[in-house]
Symmetry: C2
Subunit: 538 residues, 2 copies
Amino acid sequence: MAQIVKIFDTTLRDGTQGEGVSLSVEDKLKIAQKLDVLGVHYIEGGWPGSNGKDIEFFHRVKELNLTHAKVTAFGSTRRKETKAQDDPNLNRILESGVEVATIFGKSWDFHVHKAIQTTLEENLAMIYDSVKFLKDNGLEVIYDAEHFFDGFKNNQEYALQTIKHAEAAGADWIVLCDTNGGSLPDEVAEIVAKAGQAVSVPIGIHAHNDCELAVANSLAAVNAGARQVQGTINGYGERCGNANLCSVIPNLQLKLGYSCISDEQLCTLTQVARYVSEVANMHMPVGQPYVGNAAFAHKGGIHVSAILRHAKTYEHITPELVGNKQRVLVSELAGQSNLIVKAQELQLNFDKDNPKVKSVIEKVKELEHQGYQFEGADASLELLLREAIEGLEEVFTLESFKIIVEKSAGRGVVTEAIVKVNVHGETMLTAAEGNGPVNALDLALRKALIPHYPDIQKIHLTDYKVRVFDEKDTTAAKVRVLIETADADNSWNTVGVSENIIEASWNALADSIRYALIGKTRVEHKQPEPQRLGVINH
Amino acid sequence: MAQIVKIFDTTLRDGTQGEGVSLSVEDKLKIAQKLDVLGVHYIEGGWPGSNGKDIEFFHRVKELNLTHAKVTAFGSTRRKETKAQDDPNLNRILESGVEVATIFGKSWDFHVHKAIQTTLEENLAMIYDSVKFLKDNGLEVIYDAEHFFDGFKNNQEYALQTIKHAEAAGADWIVLCDTNGGSLPDEVAEIVAKAGQAVSVPIGIHAHNDCELAVANSLAAVNAGARQVQGTINGYGERCGNANLCSVIPNLQLKLGYSCISDEQLCTLTQVARYVSEVANMHMPVGQPYVGNAAFAHKGGIHVSAILRHAKTYEHITPELVGNKQRVLVSELAGQSNLIVKAQELQLNFDKDNPKVKSVIEKVKELEHQGYQFEGADASLELLLREAIEGLEEVFTLESFKIIVEKSAGRGVVTEAIVKVNVHGETMLTAAEGNGPVNALDLALRKALIPHYPDIQKIHLTDYKVRVFDEKDTTAAKVRVLIETADADNSWNTVGVSENIIEASWNALADSIRYALIGKTRVEHKQPEPQRLGVINH
């Protein structure tokens, strides 16, 4: 039997400390559901003592009825010279209604003196009292020993005393934190082993990536006996981020033989990683290990046929084990098989001998060549496929649009759009003013469509992204626009590409509205299930 | 005396295998100069047997007269059943005129059979003959043992035979390559140690990042006796990239006490990393260890004053050691001290009691609050500071602009801009057509300015980036535009922010042109020298 290592995800707490990562309560709830599907054991949802948004999250997460993960709330030990039961932070954790509390305390004598400015004895009491208070209230308690490695190096005996006090008070886990991210794997292994000899409750590791060693440090800690790893999806977190669970989990499970999540759950890893990067609006490096778009990409230089025949000699794992796939950058096959998967999902008759199928494959290839990317724009791809195979009802046809942007010295900009569309034989000519050209275009188009499709009032744009590519040519470069649209129940993504940002935006906008209006596409927009392969290649 | 570990940079060879990394010969020459300043020992410039661009590089790099680094050319062992002296690949290396050759050969029996389809004996002869041929021609030879770790695990004896043959032929270095990036630090350490016992020439390590462990594997190899590390700036490379030298070097030098480059050279690390990311046109993650913009950023949650007083308790190294700096994200002090540094660099009189200074600090704060970021827009910041402290000549004043974008069904988009500006009392009214609104605006503005400033024809936009932020409001969100402009000698960056993408673009565009036209700013736009601190904090 493989030994079990529990996965503690702190994307929603420590991850949001990362520069550029900002999550609304809605975003957090969506991510919590994905984390539950992935099978992490703990989801740290936030710090209820620190802000109201987190309190709302803990209130609403209960309605999600998560199946695997326990939700945990973060906080600190009680303030100095107070009683735990009077501590507002600790009481916020109780009020949040979680079953698991995660509290941190000081391990480093220097920080006790300088940061909280109290005695070493009082700090030990703060740890003991706080853990005990939460245990007495029936919670599972995870004690995060902040700065443990630096503290241990500075004053080994005191650092060990702090975790012994947490143990004595009943802590269920003691998690050693490399808060500054400055430790090396050998040090981590040695100190984890020593801590493991000092206490008998299970140990966890919380590593930061300041030396680009957070994953290595997490593995070193597990090999030295740790049985919980704290980290975040894609390694988001303050400064250089936290240990990246998207690398930690497959390393532990596929390389070292530990058991974290099920094989089926591991297959969702790539999907979860990309989903979280979308929701957090963070650029995902193509070369991100295991889950990046280029993680299993092969350039044509080495014999492509050899790779296809003997993949294990050029890939360290079978990409499907983590829900990723091999890409042979010059192969024409790759795109085609993606399309077949998508068509199956939409239950379209995608027979290869069908000339319509051939022509849509050609069309998608041509669009990708122009710079379209359908990975983040499922709705645009679905429209293309349905249009080609089944034909689609024409919900509106553009006759023309015109946008005027005017600025005079000392005044703001005025932006107006005029749209002429044909809806079921009727020409609608409308105009609208917006705070930018795309906004004006969107408003004018809606005005034109509302008389025929009043439901359009229920949908709204929720995200708009612009990416200039092939930047060497600058303003003559191409622009890719991604639009996310939502109604009360669903959301969908569309894409447009052009040299002209306005035309690219129009393409994405028109797709988003068409998708909403075409009845048959209003069923819930599911993510494709990852394909399963049974064989582990190592 | 610290032990010396040689740094072998392969950004220009393996790095260009990374998806999205594309370097012209000019780019490669510029990067080679920076690498020389950084103090790497070897610069692998390319594969002269594989493409003509690399041959040109080796020809022209000699004119640079690099002071530290040896330039090396890459190639493979001779083809099977041929003579080394007849091998075109090996002869291209000689013709490239380098003093150092780096050639790779097969270590994994499986690859010998399947990929090159020859006998194990012939492969050993290919290694021996190729190394010997290059040595006989007077070159230093670095032998890269491809797939060494996988080969060793599969057939230890054969893998060791391959490197013994390289040694017998006179190889100066034997570099063990984890080509698929699937090895773990403990394995690497063990296998490097065993290889080190088998041969007496110095060993190197070449790691890939497929498990997010390339840095850890490189350190493990050095601890096990390796004395050369191959890697790339920012970890660029095929799939998940190569070992990131920007993390390897400071870890080796600041954490483990090895000596790679001088302390002064280490101070240029951040600058080199950012420069290479600019030239390679790759997005640099803000959280990149050691050199990222957020690597030493602190959010205000923890006591800022404590961080400032006791930085070592919150930072694993002094950021200035690698040419980076601390950023305190919400502190009012931080912005102010940044401004003071910048003003000193521009030799402006930035006395705090000067009311102009107070007002420009307020203004920058207000702009940052609106979403301006000056870190990537030095020219905009310089204009603001010079304007506030010294006053600036008015090179032109906008009276108005108007942009019209028109699209009719079945036709392309037509985009026109009309610009009215006042130049030295004369009103210029011009119009231009562009392939997008910003391009049209740029062209119209240039038309208006050329009669007064003919030099403007020498400058051109080289990059245009759009970032929508606070995307929750979608088209009502704000847009930040970054523009890079260049003339023959220099380049500079400007920023604009607005709810309206056109206005944001205008702001950045107007700044870029103003910067170019204001005489005193046409001096070379230097990167700030990194500040030096003498104390190592660990």
